[in-house]
Symmetry: C3
Subunit: 178 residues, 3 copies
């Protein structure tokens, strides 16, 4: 085999390797860049949160940044910490319990306002290696070594929560007939 | 201090108190009026139910009043009573169990029709002070000393439930290819 | 009573019976035909699956047939088998558990893509005659002697899942700011 033939083969191989490296680098760059926390959809937003992200704080941030009037959401995810509270009417306070490294099997709630601050009302259920479901009224939620996908459906009118004196709890106020 | 100065201070204080009272009265009136059970949204309806409201009855009423062809819904809330049924195929009946003063951590279902009557099919999960989740096929649901927020997504075509003779249970009939 | 009168009554009865039979046959035919697996709605699709249908496979088929860019879904149903997996980070594999003849009290997830194949990410909770809830990350799901109703909300942009090297798990990649 002539030296020129060798050179041709080597240069061809190098070009292929360079192309493969470029392709691989490009794909890695694309995947690494795809860390946006939310995108707009025709019915609202799709949110993807990652390890360490606080779900409630990110929903509040979305409400403020995107000037969401009111919204409903549903979601799933893997959580580092999920804290639920069951309301004790005698103490007028939530008895909290925190679950760690759990799947959120179901997350459902609404985004509304209380004065000029977003007010998130969320319920959910978490499961661990035993698969048993636990949950209720959500007080706090932080994504773990996985992700959380939340679908937000936006409503065009702004509604606020008020404390209903009859029950001493926040209620979403709607106008219109009873 | 002169009498006129006293009078000025007193009259200023009274004006402030009157303003505060007016402000407070106004806010209270607004909050008290915001007891509408549902509002229209761009994708359907947002429903807020209160202490004593029956969830199934209110979804049926919404279906009739708003002439909803078919709809899907999701929700949360605090319930005075939630009754679930697990179907016993040998007896061809639901074995019911009622849970009292529980959070509805998840409520999911559809509104369709059976002849000229709305037909609600709902599943859910409830939790109590132990945070353990229980639920399944919902037979009845009444809001407790809190509220229930339900998001309804309306579909423009009307679909009906039929008893599928192969299983002896109601199934939502859809046209089109299998 | 004359023979002609008898004949009239009999022929009238036969006509009524024929009409009733036709009516009954017609209704039965309609109900039997209503076995479509999904219909288009203004926000996406409504899916009804039946005894023996695999939920994940049907969502994948929908994604391909209808060229769904990305979607979110929620649902309920009665399942012959529901298999959940809890991720063991040390083994880098799911520990699976299968539940049989259970209600799906809650099903939530997303449809996205991984290359040219649809990628379904679903979480859920199931309950049995004890009403206790179990679930988490869904690995497989097959409808039992009942049905499953799933509401799909379609988003117009296509998103893909990537393995996030930091956690070794699939994550839905979104463009845009963090």
């Amino acid at each position: 085999m002539s030296t020129s033939k060798h050179q041709k083969i080597i240069s061809s191989l190098l070009a292929t390797l360079a192309a493969l490296a470029a392709l691989c680098g490009c794909n890695a760059a694309v995947a690494q860049d795809l860390k946006g926390k939310y995108v707009k959809t025709s019915t609202g937003y799709l949110m993807v949160l990652r390890n360490g992200d606080n779900v409630i704080a990110n929903l509040e941030r979305l409400a403020i940044e995107e000037k969401i009037p009111t919204a409903s959401f549903m979601g799933i995810g893997f959580m580092r910490e999920a804290t639920f509270g069951f309301y004790d009417f005698s103490r007028k306070a939530f008895d909290p319990k925190t679950f760690r490294n759990v799947e959120v099997a179901s997350l459902t709630g609404t985004i509304a306002w209380k004065g000029d601050k977003p007010s998130i009302h969320a319920h959910g259920l978490v499961t661990d290696a035993s698969f048993a479901g636990s949950g209720g009224h959500l007080l706090d939620l932080t994504v773990g070594t996985g992700s959380s996908e939340i679908t937000i459906i936006v409503h065009s009118e702004r509604f606020e929560r008020f404390v209903d004196p009859a029950i001493g709890a926040n209620v979403l106020g709607l106008p219109g007939h009873q």
